[in-house]
Symmetry: C2
Subunit: 421 residues, 2 copies
């Protein structure tokens, strides 16, 4: 007998997908050059993290169970240690935060607490994929997590063009018509109205209203991903807060506003389901066979973080918001001081990302060169185009860097650009 040798050609097709290998490649480059200054990492700022906070959050949540919910000692222990409700155990705190910070009024029962926003995304796409005709629409460029989750659910993604103001709504409508004419069934439109990853672009309020009207008229769901919206000064209304007909499934994340290490996100899914409950209950059924429930220990940490901010994450993130504002300002000013002519960039008012357009091919080989020779990392935008474009664009992330690192990093970027021009 010889050892087992699986052939990748006999494994699920997603494993050959560009989206899944993109993440691997980018992580690998980052780990090969640990001393490079990284404009690639989209992680939140970590300067205010302190391991003692975990203990503080756990104690706050425990006190909440005892004093606000009236749990006795045995019930508190059970809530933290045992399996819990599939839908989650912090739904009331999440609903309160959404009402306080986002003017979203959500029944806690319409919320499913998930292992990060990524699980919420997969649950929704898995639920919506019933036949080979089903399709989801998404902007190009788009977050690779959407592409990957859709691939795992065997759900094709139809690309929608984007402009400097986000989703091109005319191209969206044209796409919906074309898909239906071809016998396909458009199920949902994935969109990040606020400071989208990777572009940093936000939609105007008028476009948000128009998008909701299109979704109503064309009877498709909107999947609103809002990982960054809260961390800005100029905040526009979310689609969900404008939603009057349960048209929007809202995908929330506490990775940037709480802490990534808890891996807690959620979906608001308040749609009625004929022959079932509400959509949140159906998502919950799928979740019961995927992760059973989101770790109560992790939910307790995020619950405590929500309690620490008096229910508001805007309040809890005051210092972080100031850092992100200053970093973004510094990057935009620093670009203006160093570049002109054939290098251009957009000017987001918040979020983690800026898009640069450059006169050379900014591909993976060029990134490796930039890392090796100039000690600076960035993200080739083609990864977010599924390899179909974006070869002259790159994404700069400024969320995790210090003031000094940004200056040195931009200097290195300037030298790199100079060398290859």
């Amino acid at each position: 007998m010889t050892d087992v040798d699986l052939d990748i050609a006999t494994l699920h097709g997603s494993l050959g997908d560009r989206a899944l290998s993109s993440m691997n490649f980018l992580n690998q480059i980052a780990s090969e050059y640990p001393d490079a200054i990284s404009f690639a990492a989209g992680r939140p700022y970590e300067g205010f993290y302190d391991p003692e906070h975990l203990h503080h959050y756990l104690r706050l949540f425990r006190a909440h169970l005892e004093h606000d919910l009236g749990y006795d000692e045995r019930e508190v222990t059970r809530a933290l240690f045992q399996y819990g409700r599939t839908k989650g155990i912090i739904n009331d705190l999440v609903a309160r935060q959404l009402a306080t910070d986002e003017q979203i009024i959500a029944d806690p029962e319409s919320i499913v607490v998930t292992v990060g926003c990524q699980e919420a995304l997969f649950l929704v796409l898995r639920a919506l994929r019933a036949t080979a005709d089903d399709v989801v629409l998404a902007p190009v460029p788009t977050y690779v997590g959407l592409t990957g989750a859709a691939r795992l659910a065997d759900l094709p993604v139809h690309p929608v063009r984007t402009t400097g103001a986000g989703l091109d709504l005319d191209d969206l409508v044209a796409g919906l018509y074309a898909l239906r004419a071809a016998g396909r069934r458009p199920r949902a439109i994935y969109v990040t109205p606020d400071f989208a990853n990777p572009t940093g672009v936000s939609m105007t309020v008028a476009d948000r209203h128009r998008l909701l009207d299109i979704a109503d008229r064309e009877d498709v769901l909107l999947l609103e991903d809002n990982a960054y919206g809260l961390l800005a000064d100029d905040r526009l209304p979310t689609l969900k807060s404008l939603d009057r007909h349960a048209r929007v499934v809202y995908l929330g994340s506490f990775a940037k506003t709480g802490l990534p290490g808890a891996r807690v996100g959620f979906a608001i899914a308040d749609q009625k389901v004929t022959g079932g409950g509400i959509f949140a209950d159906e998502l919950s059924k799928i979740k019961s066979m995927l992760t059973v429930n989101t770790p109560p220990v992790a939910q307790a940490v995020i619950g405590g973080r929500l309690l620490a901010g008096g229910g508001s994450l805007v309040a809890a993130n005051e210092r972080e918001i100031a850092v992100y504002r200053a970093n973004l300002r510094q990057v935009l000013d620093g670009l203006a001081r160093r570049f002109s002519g054939d290098v251009s960039w957009n000017t987001p008012t918040g979020g983690f990302f800026v898009t640069l357009t450059v006169p050379f091919r900014a591909d993976d080989g060029m990134l490796a060169h930039s890392a090796r020779v100039h000690g600076v990392l960035w993200t080739p935008m083609h990864h977010f185009y599924g390899g179909t474009g974006g070869f002259h664009e790159l994404r700069l992330s400024c969320s995790v860097l210090t003031h000094e690192a940004i200056e040195v990093g931009l200097d290195r970027l300037a030298k790199f650009f100079e060398e290859i021009s």
Copy 2:
């Protein structure tokens, strides 16, 4: 405009599946009769849990990062708060525990730490399902989590008969031949050699060797689920410890040996993949699009629990093992004192479950009656047969009950049986 109304017929087929609704039904009955004595709950014993342990475990893991791995303060904070490696951050501790407790020698890099064993199961089934011809084999009755995960991966399950000694290996071989003759591609055999859920049955050592030989000869993988094996006095070698050709993907859980509230499990997947890395790397790629990584905070809690036991979960669970031993003994003795003739049961030497065979139809209606009138809960075995059998069997779980509750519960069960005979 009217509100969005989704039709369940247009959602993914799994949502109509019996496996997914079984769990819901059983949870609902349990929540309707909170004062009933429950032989239904398969949760671990909670008498030794104490919320302060969470803090202790977190501190132990932090000390491990500092002293054993030499992390500085910033690295410790980053490990706990930020996103982490998709494969996990406690792989070395898991490998050490497996070597100590199970005589399994696993490269930490062949381990993927998952959100409970359930995510590991889904990752493996998703990876193995490439075409509509693919199929997984599993015993009947079987754990609903297998049925549900397979449904989510659109992977059909071929049933294999079981005997009082577990998987019927002749029926297994016949099944493999029949599937291949019908043009299907058997990818793997799911099996729980130790104290299977729901039957409580274990495989003999001879059958374990024979099963490995069959898997080698027929070139299929074995998916070994081992959630209960460690919690017994008479421990037999796991398939993975006998595996010489990377034939076994081992699915591990810390829900019963650590705590369920951390939701941490893992897969050992050391198979080589032609055109890829090892199987663990491929599972990790899928995981990156499903949950990104297992919450580092939850991994830290389990890491601390492993450290608290000096690397051994057998040592850490000494008191729990004594409780499970006593409870199982008490249930078996109590059954013998109360029943005879047309009520019979098996006699597992460990694990959480005993199977009863009864002369009446033990279905959901009967369970509701038992709960309402007699205040005692159990699990109708038909839920584990996918509705195709087991209508005269029920599962008794004795893991979470006190000595007193078991006695009162068995008295109630006796009254219930008496009433309907």
